[in-house]
């Protein structure tokens, strides 16, 4: 079984190969664009990753209703323990 990293390499390598072949293939293009494109793509990926981490944390289900319900249940539990004479300090 391979690590995710190894699986990734097997997918990235052909793309890299195509990319390099294109550079040497004689199709007119500039050197700057050749260098810049992967950097820009990685940069965009990084921005997307940061965005989705933040979005995920914001959408974290920390509902107010759950908190309110829990507070009510805590009171209920304490009253019940008192009724049953359980010593909880």
């Amino acid at each position: 079984m391979a690590t995710q990293f190894q699986i990734y390499l097997t997918k990235i390598t052909p793309i890299l190969f195509v990319w390099i072949v294109t550079y040497f293939s004689g199709i007119p293009h500039s050197f700057e664009i050749f260098i810049a494109t992967p950097i820009v793509l990685i940069g965009l990926l990084g921005i997307y990753a940061v965005y989705s981490v933040i979005a995920g944390v914001l959408r974290f289900r920390n509902c107010e209703e759950a908190k309110v319900e829990l507070i009510r249940e805590i009171d209920e539990a304490r009253a019940d323990f008192k009724r049953r004479n359980v010593k909880l300090d």
Binding site: Y48, S52, L58, R61, A66, A77
Partner: protein
């Protein structure tokens, strides 16, 4: 069905450290939520020598709820989560293990839902996911799918139901510490091809005690992801 088995079907392992305030409520909620379901259960409290008297409280609760339901298996010191699970599992009589936190961030009301879902398709693992279904969670899933392809929306969650032998296997294989350990178990589970179901849960941040969420967690999580990405095969 209950007459055929000796002992409970579901073992809830509760690692505790300084939970003298939360523990009684947690057990009360478990009892309340499981009472009318017909599912037989036990709670195994693994306390790491809490200085706040958690074990004394546990003993009072054992008197109240019964020795069949609540079992206290303490340890000599603060020894970590993975080993707490292993320790608890030694005494677990059920065929299923439920792992959850004792600090009320995990509500026991989701346990019957997890059990029901597990029965539906005989899942190996049921995980409670804190990420709501739909909306921006798509972006979150895409990122995880892109980097790790675990197919599970909440990797760091620790509210889960496992078949006993599956959990034993995953614990023995996972080497990380802290909650990266939770991530690693889930990740390895996926790699093994274990079937995993999800139950959406609500997560209420700590009532008594410091919060778990913060920049530190995000950084640790990122480090955990990278570790899993590069090393787990």
């Amino acid at each position: 069905m209950p007459g055929n088995r000796r002992g409970p079907e579901y073992s809830i392992i509760l690692p505790t450290y300084n939970e003298k305030d939360n523990l009684p409520i947690c057990l009360w909620l478990i009892e309340k939520c499981m009472k009318d379901t017909g599912y037989s259960y036990e709670v195994i409290i693994v306390d790491d020598a809490s200085p706040d008297g958690t074990q004394d409280i546990a003993k009072q609760l054992i008197k109240e709820f019964g020795e069949e339901k609540i079992i206290l298996k303490p340890r000599e010191g603060k020894l970590g989560l993975g080993t707490a699970y292993i320790h608890g599992m030694k005494f677990a009589r059920g065929n299923f293990i439920i792992l959850m936190d004792a600090d009320l961030s995990h509500h026991p009301k989701f346990i019957p839902e997890m059990i029901r879902l597990q029965k539906q398709k005989n899942y190996d693992i049921i995980t409670g996911t804190r990420y709501s279904l739909g909306g921006g969670v798509v972006g979150w899933d895409l990122r995880r799918k892109f980097l790790l392809q675990p197919g599970v929306s909440d990797l760091t969650g620790s509210f889960r139901l496992y078949k006993k032998d599956i959990l034993a296997k995953l614990i023995s294989e996972s080497v990380s510490k802290g909650y990266v350990f939770q991530m690693e178990m889930m990740f390895r589970a996926k790699k093994h091809g274990f079937t995993i179901g999800e139950v959406p849960i609500t997560f209420v941040d700590r009532f008594f005690g410091e919060s778990k969420l913060g920049a530190q967690e995000v950084i640790s999580y990122a480090k955990g992801l990278l570790y899993l990405f590069f090393t787990v095969s």
